[in-house]
């Protein structure tokens, strides 16, 4: 089986939710940017894998092609909660692995509404939100963080430091939604949404898109695209195995742990070999859980890891240099490919002020609640 390479990749600057153009135009922008990044045309693409959640039943991929070239290629539309973009990328990867295609396009795109996600209700009877606890996302991830606090004594301040760090990183990323420093007292003093998550500890709803061109090794060489290519060393997905509290408490940990273990095995590397990580910081509480889930530190040491500065720019294992979902923004269907863009940019040495020096290996992680976890390990080629 051929190795698979990212040869073209880009994302638009994320923008305030609801302010972007129509979803197909939003997706088309990133698709054209990714094609331009490698100098290929839509006529060169053998298939399109499109990730979008909000209009999952509305043929978004085909509508993107209607904007940039209706070449008649197969289009697969993917929806997998917040793992949607990564799922589209992985399907593209798999089609090359399988030898069906040798150059394909993956697009992730989302137009978002403002306000709280989750909650649900609307079934028969009466609304349950605020009656049977909360199913809003800030509360669900607050409770996930509290489980860590219960076990290890993790503090509100430690969770808040995640947000300070990621907002700081985003000041170095012109494509992030925000470029604003948020000191600890600002984060902790912001409106409390669901303890311990304040407003600045919740991801930002944005409109956004990202796209990647994936290629087999033979094709990349034939096209002369190996110089800036990024090797996909591992692509792993999991769903959530049965857990005791499943029915009332989504488990984002186990599926990540299993995926991480498989990804390190597939890539033939260990967590210590990874130079930078983009992980699913949908809420500040989540980032600390994933330090341990991805084996960036031992169980119970995530609080110390954020305190030590190791996950900040210049640290031993920088996490979410893009600003993360907390400040770059979280367009659900685009996030999985935007994370891969961030890592690829560092591996190409093109990340400007936030560049990790001599980055060779990076890892991306997303979680779609419900649950789907996707992890990719990417390696510098040249």
């Amino acid at each position: 089986m051929s190795d698979v390479y990212v040869v073209g990749i880009d994302m638009i600057k994320f923008m305030k939710a609801g302010t972007g153009p129509a979803v197909e135009q939003l997706g088309a922008q990133a698709a054209l940017m990714a094609l331009d990044d490698c100098g290929l045309k839509i006529q060169d693409m053998q298939a399109l894998y499109c990730g979008n959640l909000g209009q999952a039943d509305a043929m978004v991929g085909q509508r993107v092609l209607q904007q940039i070239g209706q070449t008649g290629i197969p289009v697969v539309n993917c929806a997998n909660a917040c793992a949607t973009g990564a799922t589209a990328f992985r399907e593209a990867w798999m089609s090359i692995k399988a030898g069906v295609n040798d150059v394909v396009l993956a697009v992730g795109v989302e137009k978002m509404g403002a306000g709280l996600l989750g909650g649900g209700g609307g079934r028969k009877g009466i609304p349950r939100e605020g009656l049977l606890g909360s199913m809003t996302m800030p509360a669900v991830f607050a409770e996930a963080g509290q489980e860590h606090a219960r076990k290890y004594g993790t503090t509100f301040e430690q969770f808040a430091k995640v947000s300070v760090k990621n907002h700081h990183h985003s000041t170095l990323n012109p494509k992030a939604m925000y470029q604003i420093e948020t000191p600890l007292e600002t984060v902790m003093g912001a409106e409390m949404i669901a303890y311990p998550n304040t407003k600045l500890m919740c991801s930002v709803n944005v409109d956004g898109s990202a796209a990647a061109v994936l290629c087999s090794e033979a094709k990349a060489k034939q096209l002369g695209l190996m110089k800036r290519a990024v090797r996909v060393k591992a692509s792993v997905m999991t769903s959530d195995p049965w857990q005791e509290r499943d029915l009332v408490m989504p488990d984002v940990n186990t599926c990540t742990r299993i995926a991480a273990k498989k990804a390190y095995e597939m890539a033939g590397v260990g967590p210590g070999d990874i130079d930078l990580v983009e992980l699913h910081d949908c809420f500040a509480t989540a980032e600390l859980l994933h330090y341990e889930n991805l084996s960036l530190c031992k169980d119970g040491e995530a609080g110390q890891l954020i305190d030590s500065g190791a996950t900040s720019i210049g640290g031993k294992i920088p996490v979410n240099l893009s600003g993360g979902l907390l400040s770059k923004g979280h367009p659900l269907g685009a996030t999985g490919i935007a994370n891969i863009y961030e890592i690829s940019t560092h591996l190409r040495g093109e990340a400007g002020k936030r560049q990790v020096p001599n980055a060779r290996l990076g890892l991306t992680h997303v979680i779609g609640l419900g649950s789907a976890c996707a992890i990719h390990v990417l390696e510098k080629v040249a």
């Binding site: 009877g125 809003t136 219960r150 669901a194 311990p196 005791e244 509290r245």
Partner: protein
């Protein structure tokens, strides 16, 4: 006045006796679900799942104090996940305690109590009975 309806299907209101929460337990592996089902999603056994009455005593596993919710929903309130004695985990509001993170202790003993569903009514004007947790 007519009898209130249960806020969720797993809250049972018998004609005689007190309301209670009902679980569905797998006879093969002991896993407890809150809905009736044919197949156990832990062990895969079919047709071994039977209704069981859940305990009203439990311990607070984790909580969040919710300060922002959807329009029309009173805040703050305590969203709580409770492990019941003898098995089963349920989510609900923790009441009878100040909604202050510093005052709520994870692991504290709580009991399930049954009260009107905060005055919420459906389109037909029916009242509902819900469950809550209280410190014990």
């Amino acid at each position: 006045m007519s009898k209130p309806l249960p806020a969720v299907d797993f809250l049972k209101i018998p004609d005689q006796g007190d309301p209670y929460l009902e679980g569905h337990k797998c006879g093969a592996c002991g896993s407890i679900y809150l809905d009736a089902r044919e197949v156990c999603s832990k062990c895969g056994e079919r047709g071994k799942i039977a209704a069981t009455r859940l305990s009203n005593d439990g311990h607070l596993y984790v909580f969040s104090v919710v300060y922002r919710s959807f329009p029309g929903i009173d805040v703050p309130y305590v969203s709580a996940i409770v492990d019941l004695e003898g098995g089963g985990t349920v989510k609900g509001n923790l009441i009878g305690i100040e909604p202050d993170p510093a005052k709520i202790k994870m692991g504290m003993p709580v009991r399930v109590v049954y009260k009107d569903a905060l005055g919420r009514k459906d389109r037909e004007g029916n009242s509902y009975l819900s469950y809550f947790f209280e410190p014990r």
